[in-house]
Symmetry: C2
Subunit: 514 residues, 2 copies
């Protein structure tokens, strides 16, 4: 077998059976090897940003890695923004990037680029295979690296000759190294801290959903501490039955107000909170002066073990969490507002839905309404690079074919990776896409005010407004093979959303509020 | 004035008056500064790959730099592929990338990324301004760097506080350093070489169009040497009246055959030719063994001076070049084939048109027909990263508002940066876009054969074919505000192309050959 085949067999032997692919001319032997292994699921994305965003969404739901197949340096560049988002989400992925044959790298050929350099700016693990016989073990190492520390970005660079030369293998990836666990003294100290006045427990990673979230809820109920989470989250369980939690808001001034009374902040699977940006005269850190900030368990450490140890230390193993109770609003009628979009969504969202939320400004008005809906998961932007939402929905739908995916996407954001609509159609993915057509970059209009500019002229308007012409999302959806509908009133939105949820393929709703 | 204003004023004082922008939240002060200077032309692109591709197209036609405005690390990532293409084209551009305020960089905020690292993987010049008072001089240095060595990639990183703090300036960019010129002995040696049997002069850069191309033609006519150019070219003059030149083909075996009789290859403004990729058992270098390859003038050196010195040395100053004579085919009718697309284009292409060619496989059958059309310029892919064509057309049209732009784009390629259609509509650019809807990545189908795989199955087909669903380019154009028409016969193509050429705004033609 050649190197490419040894890699595909190594991936399959190691349980990696899904590849989001946008191959170029340097990856032909890898394509041939994939072709010979129909048990590998290859999902074509028409732009590399779709591959990395999909691998991120896949990991968030599956908690295991998919592969991406990328063209050499510029292809990785196209994937970069969503790799950045995945890195910030703590998602693991295995990127396979082609390169020129090693003997060809000495020449200034058109596609020659700094494959190692660009990978190292965003990957946790980068390796270029030196020869075909190394490819199987390098691939196994890449998979292990991607599964390590709760999920990492691993990038394996395959010069063309390492793919076509004779190889050995396959190999099976070793289990990732054990996660670091805090020592007993740290757990006991945290347990005491959480029982003091003004204590807050800030959780992240796997603590935000499933069984771990339950334990976090028990700890909060038992100790009386506040249970909080950050603004941008890879995945969080919401809706009826979930343990209640407070989420920090995005704007820095209200974020500071939210934490004003916090005397101690214990971090468990979460980075310390920090302002999204610095603003003139405003602090980078939102907690009050004198607040004790302690990392009990870093995001890359053993979050579930730490939660269990902490629950035992505070005597919360059998405590009942404070849960959200089901409270569905009536489906509204009449004029369409963002609040009514939220109410309609809250009323109709089916149990176990996955909501991919990249409606950056509209989402702030929509999402509060869904707090007491049927139980569901929300996946959000994590790295601030827009263009994640549609690819993430592709990956989530591939990971969970039995769950309904609803994607809430801003129009400015959706334009970055709109090609993912085609992948939804190609794969028949069960995704209902809601585009908020506010005709511009609303976040930038807001941010300009945040830096003290309250009126603006033609050049700023030209850069913030996506009008003249307006984008026609129904046509864009049709162009990609996805049926789309524009709605301008609440009744229409409810009707079309209901149809999308009852159907089992992709559809798009362009929401135009009055 | 603040740092952002000092930069905008420095750009304007230095003659940089066009910015292709996709700002994010970290560039708000720069947006405010642009807003206060309406003499700066700000062209919004709905994806960063549109900005860098447009700056490249602008430079190729204007021979001077435009700016791009990019969001921090992931935004630069999105721009990366077309920056790579621009680098390979020898195009200069000034990228302005925001970053966090310096005091905020110590925190793990969502958008924190390796701005310097990613820039250095593709830019010739990278600098992060340390404070606001440095911004004007850093900006002037960036512009000078971008104009140096016939055009370079210069990236200036502006932490937010360097934009908002009090600054000095503006400054005016110094003239770039003088270009290196070969010494007299090298010119004389080349002059002797070119008069020997089997001599070929391979030209690139500015030697391929305008007055310099004329001189190259004189040298070839006088010495009897072959005048050749590479496969992928930033810009070349074609059509009636231009000095004849042979272009190397893409596939490696015929490329080797083209050069089989070459005894010496003198490079003037061109890199040495090299196979696009290495293939098993085929050489990387296409020239025959024993062929003497001499670099008389590197692409970053003084190409025009060298051509003049060489013309004088061979006594060609008054020699008439061998020119292409006008030969327009009849406009064909009946079924549509790629050859008929080429003939129709050849017949209708107006004088002084700019053809942006990123029809990677279809172009090989279309472009030969336009050799004897009315005189025009052709801009092509240079770095092998697809997704250049539509943005490049935006930039070329901005640089030359009085010239008709015709963009020939493959459907696979067009999907990478289709957002540029909206910028064409927004700016009312005079671009006729021709999409070749061959429903897949034809180049990959070809390349798989090149590596020895002659039949393929479901996974390869899934990655090469863009069918199920087909893309609807008329709908995609409409979605971006551009009128589009699908044509399936030669008469229809001629009618719609004629309308596009006679009009003065953007339009799109989806070509479906039988």
């Amino acid at each position: 077998m050649n190197g490419a085949t040894s890699l595909v067999k190594t991936m399959l032997a190691s349980g990696v059976d899904t590849v989001f692919a946008n191959p170029g001319t340097s990856e032909m032997h890898f394509v041939a090897a994939l072709d010979a292994h129909p048990d590998m699921r290859c999902v074509l994305c028409l732009f590399e940003g779709g591959t990395s965003g999909a691998a991120d969404g896949y990991f968030r739901m599956k908690r295991d890695v998919a592969g991406t197949l990328l063209h050499l340096a510029p292809g990785f560049g196209n994937a970069f923004a969503n790799i950045h988002n995945a890195r910030k989400a703590g998602s693991g992925m295995v990127n396979v990037m082609g390169d020129h044959a090693i003997h060809h790298l000495q020449y200034e050929s058109p596609l020659k680029g700094d494959t190692v350099g660009i990978s190292q700016t965003v990957s946790h693990w980068t390796r270029m295979s030196p020869d075909a016989t190394s490819v199987a073990s390098d691939g196994a190492d890449a998979i292990r690296a991607a599964r390590s520390r709760n999920g990492q970005i691993a990038t394996l660079i395959l010069p063309a000759d390492t793919a076509w030369d004779a190889a050995e293998g396959p190999m099976t990836a070793a289990a990732p190294p054990a996660l670091r666990q805090p020592d007993a003294a740290a757990v006991d100290a945290a347990a005491r801290q959480l029982q003091q006045p003004g204590a807050a427990l800030m959780i992240g990673g796997v603590a935000l959903f499933g069984a771990a979230r339950e334990i976090a809820g028990r700890i909060a109920a038992r100790t009386g501490c506040r249970l909080v989470c950050d603004t941008l989250l890879a995945r969080i369980a919401k809706g009826a039955g979930t343990a209640q939690i407070e989420q920090l808001v995005y704007p820095v001034t209200p974020k500071i107000a939210q934490l004003a009374d916090v005397a101690s902040l214990t971090l468990l699977g979460a980075e310390r909170p920090v302002a999204f940006f610095a603003y003139p005269g405003k602090p980078s850190l939102p907690e009050p002066p004198g607040c004790a900030v302690t990392t009990l368990c870093a995001p890359e450490e053993d979050i579930t073990w730490t939660l269990n140890a902490l629950a035992e230390a505070v005597g919360a193993v059998n405590t009942e969490p404070v849960r959200t109770t089901l409270n569905l609003p009536a489906v509204p009628t009449g004029d369409l507002t963002l609040a009514k979009v939220g109410q309609t969504l809250a009323a109709l969202l089916p149990e176990n839905a996955i909501v991919c939320n990249e409606a950056i400004t509209s989402g702030r008005e929509v999402m509060p309404h869904t707090q007491a809906s049927r139980p569901h998961d929300v996946l959000g932007g994590t790295g601030g690079a827009i263009g994640l939402g549609l690819p993430m929905a592709v990956g989530a739908a591939m990971a969970c074919p039995d769950r309904k995916v609803v994607a809430l996407i801003g129009d400015g954001t959706a334009m970055y990776t709109l090609q993912s609509l085609w992948s939804m159609a190609r794969e028949g993915l069960d995704v209902t896409v809601i585009i908020f057509a506010n005709r511009g970059y609303q976040i930038l209009r807001d941010e300009l005010k945040n830096v003290g500019v309250n009126s603006y002229g033609a050049n700023a308007q030209a850069m913030f407004d996506v009008e003249g012409p307006e984008l026609d999302w129904v046509a864009l959806a049709k162009g990609h093979g996805v049926p789309g509908t524009r709605v301008t009133d609440a009744d229409g939105f409810a009707r079309v959303l209901r149809a999308g949820i009852e159907g089992d393929g992709p559809s798009l709703i362009e929401v135009v509020c009055g």
